[in-house]
């Protein structure tokens, strides 16, 4: 089990109901995609937030990553919708 800080933004944050949390992740969670799948087992608020997995963006240690990238070495993992700044 590895402990990781998760942060959420925009409607991902609203649907999950919190902006950050620290979770213990089972060793079977290897990639960012595995993490999304794992979170969806934790309750319907996660299911609602991550329903359309393919639109969810993931950043590890404040850099964008694809869903198939490993989360090894992550101190902070962020989940958020497509960005709409500028």
């Amino acid at each position: 089990m590895a402990s990781v800080n998760l942060v959420y933004f925009a409607w991902v944050r609203e649907r999950i109901g919190r902006g950050e949390e620290t979770l213990e992740l089972p060793d079977t969670v290897v990639t960012a995609g595995d993490l999304l799948a794992h979170l969806k087992t934790l309750g319907e608020e996660y299911e609602a937030a991550l329903e359309h997995e393919n639109v969810i963006r993931v950043a590890i240690n404040q850099e964008h990553v694809d869903h198939d990238e490993t989360i090894a070495g992550a101190r902070e993992i962020a989940l958020f919708p497509p960005m709409t700044g500028g």
Binding site: V7, F9, A10, W11, F80, P81, P82, M83, T84
Partner: protein, 155 residues
């Protein structure tokens, strides 16, 4: 990496265009072109009381800096500034400012255009609309055309 100065700020308050241009170009005789882009909160329908900008502190600055560094290397810019506001922003107010400097004009235009396209699609900011009638409207959806605008820079 680049030796050209990059200024990146993420802040709640407004910025002053002239001050930022001055900071980037004062005392230099090698700059031939300065392009600025200001993005404003727009409300043609008159139904918006404010946009609320949420951001990812730390990553927002880091990502914008990465974008500016890339623009400097790609277009040979002499300097770049990018300032993005967060919090509630009323119609007519500034949201974002990008400034680029180069010896010749096309690089400054392209650099600012490039920075804006990537800022729109990869800097971690999200807009929520607040209506005049007191309702907190929805989150603004990302636009396919913004992805297309970004993708035209692919080699």
């Amino acid at each position: 990496m680049t030796a050209a100065p990059v200024t990146v700020r993420v802040q709640r308050g407004d910025f002053d265009l002239a001050t930022e241009v001055q900071a980037l170009s004062a005392g230099r005789h090698d700059i031939g072109a300065v392009v600025t882009f200001s993005g404003l909160c727009r409300d043609e329908a008159g139904t918006l009381s404010a946009l609320e900008l949420e951001h990812y502190p730390g990553m927002a600055e880091a990502e914008i800096t990465r974008i500016c560094d890339e623009a400097i290397n790609r277009f040979g810019l002499q300097a770049a500034t990018a300032i993005h506001r967060y919090g509630k922003i009323a119609p007519g107010e500034n949201i974002v400012l990008v400034i680029t400097a180069s010896p010749h004009r096309q690089a400054a235009f392209d650099g600012a255009n490039f920075i804006m396209d990537f800022l729109k699609t990869s800097a971690p900011f999200w807009k929520k609309e607040h209506g005049n009638d007191g309702t907190a409207g929805g989150w603004v959806s990302a636009k396919d055309e913004d992805d297309s605008a970004r993708d035209r820079w692919s080699d």
